[in-house]
Amino acid sequence: MHYYRAKNLKDILNLFESEGDRVHLIAGGTDVLVEARQKPLPQDAFLLDISQTADLRHINEQGQTIHIGASVTHQELAESALIRQSAPLLAQACRQIGSLQIRNRGTLGGNICNASPCADTVPPLLALNANVHIAGLQGKRTVPVAEFFDSPYHPLLNNGEVVSAVSFAKLEPTTRTAFYKLGRRKALAISRINMAVVFKMTEEGFLEDVRLAPGSVFPAWHRVSEAETFLENKKAQLSVFEEAGKLVADKMIAISGRRWSTPYKEPVVAALVKRTLAIAAGVYKGGKL
């Protein structure tokens, strides 16, 4: 096996060119090295380390857009003043990933490219209408995060391509957001279900521009337009949020059918939608809803 640490994006593309399919990317290694225990990397693999690639390590704002390099770690996002202010739900999601040791290594690019159905950063990115920036031998391209995934564990990334960054429009200061993660325990938990919401609330308490993105609920990631349309211009109150929860649970059953997990998931998904909306609206006081 060969190992090479890419200093910049050009290094990565040069290696794609010279080594072709032998190239295996590694950033934080928190998924790659776990999977390598089950299925070792081929002997002739060219391990390309992008964890310290300068071009992939930025968090900045350009005009009204936030750009995050693919190799920025979860902990860096959780601690970033810019992200906490302009996309608090992403900072919250990152803060709940794994443990500090995992967050210090795992990267945003790795989380979305591993494309696990329970990836914690994907629902917030969907709710932020984020774009994924991809660099490759054929040039650069940008796709909405909603169109980046084929199926679980299969991002729509070609050989010779790397995700270089993620970007999204800065939220207005009055925008409400929330991220909720349901795991079997508080730390080191894989999400059973997670939920991201973004909306604006008028002074009279009416909802606008509602975006609702659940994780681990559908076989493929997407927002729930039925619930979003229902919530538009509705008053921010628990009865409305409850109705939205039922719509999301109905949608889940419509897509996946009734399965062994449905008696658990149906009420839990509905309750989590209600709870996450209530948190974002500032009407959740803790306890059961």
Partner: protein, 152 residues
């Protein structure tokens, strides 16, 4: 195989390692620093925690080649000049050690936290050691021991 230089506990080591060797294995087998424990090997238990450039990481999820150019601190580098680190001393005072297997990782997580925040709240302590499992379930004395260092 490839030749690398590792900076561990402020000492430089020149080593020949396999490209897929884990930092954990190189610390234990090549350098004999067996204070770093092998536990789950998938980043769940934190027994293999080391401090890399000031941040705690699971050494089972870092390749030795990836650690080149970084400053690594293991439990062996925490005591200085034969004197225990205040966290180690406090673990003794509060009986925060049962079987001891999680202790090196716990101590390093605590040391790293206290270097960033000298007087952490209890919730911050619990968050900092959330990635370190103690199967003897002796968490209370561990939290108390760390808190006591911050209160001194």
């Amino acid at each position: 195989m490839t030749e690398i230089t590792l900076n561990v506990n402020k000492k430089e080591y020149r080593l020949t390692v396999s490209e897929d060797a884990l930092l954990l294995d190189v610390l234990r087998n090549n350098l004999g620093l067996t204070g770093t424990k092998r536990g789950c090997e998938v980043g769940e238990c934190g027994a293999c925690t080391v401090i890399m450039d000031g941040k705690t990481v699971n050494s089972c999820l870092v390749l030795a080649v990836q650690a080149q150019g970084s400053e690594i601190r293991t439990i062996e580098g925490v005591a200085e000049n034969g004197k225990l680190h205040p966290v180690q001393q406090s673990f003794l005072e509060y009986d925060a050690v049962q079987c001891g297997f999680c202790t090196p990782g716990m101590v390093l997580s605590a040391v790293s936290l206290l270097e960033k925040k000298a007087h952490p709240e209890e919730t911050e302590i619990k968050e900092a050691i959330a990635g370190n499992l103690c199967r003897c379930t002796g968490y209370q004395p561990i939290v108390k021991a760390i808190k006591a260092v911050g209160e001194k």
